[in-house]
């Protein structure tokens, strides 16, 4: 008898499209999940990993056509099954967890009801025994005060508790297979660690898990086998050790090289020579931006509580914190888009935060900003050319080219070309749009660029390209960066100095290596301990 809980051979999925040929979105995927093991499907957006997972529970979608030589669960074929057969199997023999419990659980119902529903659908017990079971399940996944929490709605719970409640609803009937689709995305690093711990406990108890993620580091923590998908096909498969330490396929290698961390500091992440040293910029001791004792309150709650920092010419100051840490508010104050309740911000020695609007405008072209979502920062009526020309018009440096030529040269310096001038940003890819946003940012020859989660929404390989681009630009133009992110690896890779924020306070500040290798504050220590690292495997 085979030890394979799930067997997939030559799985192919096509997406039917109106007035067009069907798209082949999953190509000849084969794998087998063994009992008690964790198999990870890793890939970027569009790799087909989520669709594959959904096909395993018969929820691929009506527009999709699924075909396979073998697609089985515990030896039973999954193709061509009736809906009523699936209703019996889903939840009882295989559990499915989605990302972001805020929308994956019904926001109008208490989480206890959602979990009880999983039991009721399969005729388990009666109302009273179900209630007890719900509490037991919540305790199993580590939710304290289970009885009280069960009566709360997802919006009333913190991110970690929500996600755990979601897991509880999926394991209610103790299925021996669990499929988790990006269960830790959109979670803070500390919460992410907790959720992975829950999954590890399931594995220890003998549940088999299929984990889908774009994050190799997360996967490295609990996966036994890793499958790398690109464009619908599996490009690499093997044990976690093999794939992470001796990747064979160039895509996997590129994926691993693209991950920013302390090891990649000063190196290129992408392109033809990842790992090669990146050109360093010239730094000086001139203080460009200085914030002194910034305090900002919203509705009685301190968004920013007494934070100070300095930014010198040519350097990158990384501001790192989880959600609610106040880093975004701080960046807006640094940009003088909001005034602090007390404290001040100075630019090149001049008072910036409390200056008159006219004085501020004169300085604004020296401080640029790049946002997390570039599309929302572009006027929907404008093409790329309009966006760039608008910024170029504000440039006070002597113009040696016509504005149009300058626009083209800006596009070229961010890795795009003249052909992009007439494009609509909405029709460009995420990476291209961010490049346009960066081109706009450097159009006025700024001295400081504020990057507010500028790479957080990008796939890892695209992120790597953008980070390399930012490093190159810093070397060429001597610009300083105020780099805000929740991603510790990115921060460590990019920053010279780091400021760690928690609940509006600056808990630790200093040189990047100091803060990361010798953290003194318990919060920083906890953050770093929660960080899933690829390196963890190398030490073993």
């Amino acid at each position: 008898m085979s030890n394979n809980v799930i067997e997939v051979r030559d799985l192919n999925i096509w997406a039917r499209a109106e007035n067009a040929a069907p798209r082949h979105i999953v190509k000849n995927v084969s794998f087998a999940l063994q009992r008690g093991q964790c198999l990870a499907l890793v890939g970027e957006s569009g790799s087909g990993k989520s669709v594959t997972a959904r096909a395993l529970v018969g929820l691929a979608g009506e527009q999709l056509q699924v075909q396979a030589n073998t697609l089985s669960l515990h030896g039973e074929a999954l193709l061509g099954r009736s809906e009523s057969w699936w209703r019996r199997v889903r939840g009882s023999k295989v559990g499915f967890i989605l990302q972001d419990a805020l929308v994956s659980l019904d926001p109008l119902r208490p989480v206890g009801k959602e979990i009880a529903e999983a039991l009721a659908l399969h005729g388990w017990g009666n109302a009273a025994s179900r209630q007890q079971k719900v509490q037991a399940l919540l305790e199993e996944v580590g939710v304290p005060q289970a009885a009280y929490r069960a009566s709360q709605r997802p919006g009333e719970l913190s991110g970690g508790l929500r996600q755990r409640a979601l897991i509880a609803s999926a394991i209610a009937l103790h299925p021996d297979v669990l499929i988790a689709d990006e269960p830790t995305t959109a979670l803070d690093v500390t919460v992410q660690a907790q959720v992975l711990e829950v999954l590890r406990q399931m594995l220890d108890r003998g549940t088999s898990v299929i984990l889908i993620s774009h994050d190799l580091a997360v996967v490295a923590k609990i996966a036994d086998q890793i499958l790398v998908m690109q464009g619908g096909a599996i490009v690499e498969a093997g044990t976690a050790q093999q794939v992470l330490q001796q990747p064979q396929h160039p895509y996997t290698q590129g994926l691993i090289n693209a991950i920013p961390s302390e090891h990649t500091k000063g190196q290129r992440l992408s392109g033809s020579a990842p790992g090669a040293p990146a050109p360093a910029g010239v730094k000086s001791a001139d203080v460009l931006l200085e914030a002194r004792h910034i305090v900002k309150r919203f509705r009685g709650h301190s968004a920013v509580a007494d934070v100070s920092f300095t930014l010198r010419r040519g350097e990158t100051l990384g501001i790192v914190g989880e959600s609610g840490s106040g880093k975004t508010t701080l960046s807006r104050i640094a940009l003088a888009l909001e005034a602090p309740d007390s404290g001040e911000v100075l630019f090149a020695g001049q008072l910036w935060s409390h200056a008159s609007a006219a004085a501020q405008r004169a300085i604004r072209r020296q401080i640029a900003v790049v946002y997390q979502d570039p599309l929302s920062s572009f006027d929907p009526r404008w093409r790329v050319a309009d966006i760039l020309l608008d910024a170029i018009a504000l440039d006070q440096h002597p113009a040696t080219h016509t504005p149009r030529d300058r626009a083209i040269s800006l596009l070229q310096s961010v890795g795009l070309g003249a052909e992009h001038l007439n494009q609509w940003p909405a029709r460009m890819s995420g990476g291209q749009r961010q490049r346009v946003a960066i081109a706009r940012a450097i159009a006025t020859h700024p001295q400081v660029i504020v990057l507010d989660e500028a790479v957080s929404a990008l796939d890892v390989t695209i992120q790597a390209q953008i980070l390399d681009l930012l490093s190159d630009l810093q070397a060429q133009l001597g610009v300083s960066y105020l780099f805000i992110s929740h991603d510790l690896g990115v921060i460590h890779h990019m920053s010279d100095r780091v400021l760690v924020m928690q609940n509006g306070e600056a808990v630790e500040q200093g040189a990047a290596d100091e803060v990361f290798y010798r953290p003194r504050h318990p919060y920083t220590q906890k953050l770093l301990a929660s960080l899933p690292r690829l390196a963890a495997l190398e030490i073993a």
Binding site: L337, R364, R365, I367, S377, D379, T444
Partner: protein, 285 residues
């Protein structure tokens, strides 16, 4: 009546290019017909709308009188055609007043300085507490029944609803990422307004105009139907409905057919308005 329907765009058509959906094509034809009727009624009418012929009173629709005759023998079809101009003009005029009021109130409420925005917002809340018809009735009571009072009353009655839409759109644009990005670049406020805020707020208003004209015609005719608007013997559609009320038991065509004209105008303009809205939204996404 329109305020809520325009908040929701219809299902997005996936087609690229210039294919017109059938419904929009039909709406265009119907709207065009009425516009021609308004401009040159003589070209489309078959009889003199004021010519009476007591021997042919209360005749059902026939080849001689396409839509029948009324109680003193006037041809209904011709009266409807001749009434188009007045009905449409009142509708357009009312919409113009409503739009003007909506823009003034909406922009002040969303973009004005505190001392202006607060009172305007309170005023809007109060005006929105009046059901549309009642607000219009208040002004009809004030001004007495006539075509111009109808225009003003319907305009004022529908203005708060549109003002709410304009305000919501202006707020959304004001708080958008691109306005903030432009501000961060260093553009002064008036440039923000001219370059970004005004164009993006006005864009959805174009569809509103078409929708609103249809609705205004309905409201205005309704008031005339109650005897509070245009008075007979004018062939304005609402007045036609009012005049025909008495004979409804014997001459159904006098009540049903002018109503169909109203419905056709309302539906065709609404459909055109929604199509414009869909095109504007789908274009740049």
């Amino acid at each position: 009546m329109t305020t809520h329907l325009t908040d929701y765009a219809g299902p997005r058509t996936q087609r690229a290019g210039w294919q017109l959906p059938v419904s929009v094509l039909l709406s265009g034809i119907v709207a065009l017909f009425f516009i021609v009727a308004a401009l040159t009624p003589g070209a489309l009418a078959t009889h003199d709308p004021f010519a009476t012929d007591l021997y042919r009173a209360l005749q059902a629709p026939s080849w001689a009188n396409w839509l029948g005759t009324d109680d003193i023998g006037r041809d209904l079809y011709s009266r409807i055609i001749w009434g188009t101009r007045q009905s449409l003009l009142i509708g357009i005029g009312a919409m113009a007043i409503a739009l003007f009021g909506a823009i003034v109130l909406g922009f002040s409420a969303a973009l004005g300085p505190r001392w202006l925005a607060e009172p305007v917002n309170r005023l809007l809340e109060i005006l929105l507490a009046f059901p549309t018809l009642l607000l219009a009735l208040l002004f009809v009571a004030l001004l007495g029944p006539s075509a111009s009072s109808l225009l003003i009353s319907v305009g004022i009655g529908t203005a708060p609803g549109y003002a709410r839409l304009v305000r919501a759109q202006a707020l959304q644009v004001k708080q958008s990422g691109y306005v903030e990005a432009a501000r961060a670049l260093g553009h002064p406020w008036h440039r923000l307004f001219i370059q970004h805020i005004a164009p993006n707020v006005f864009r959805p208003l174009f569809s509103l105009v078409a929708l609103g004209i249809g609705q205004s015609v309905v409201w205005a005719s309704g008031l005339s139907f109650l005897g509070l608007g245009v008075v007979p013997p004018s062939p304005e559609w609402g007045a036609l409905l009012e005049a025909g009320k008495i004979n409804v038991t014997v001459a159904w065509w006098l009540e049903v057919l002018p109503g169909i004209a109203i419905v056709l105008v309302a539906l065709s303009f609404t459909q055109i308005g929604r199509y414009i809205q869909q095109r504007a939204e789908g274009e740049k996404r």
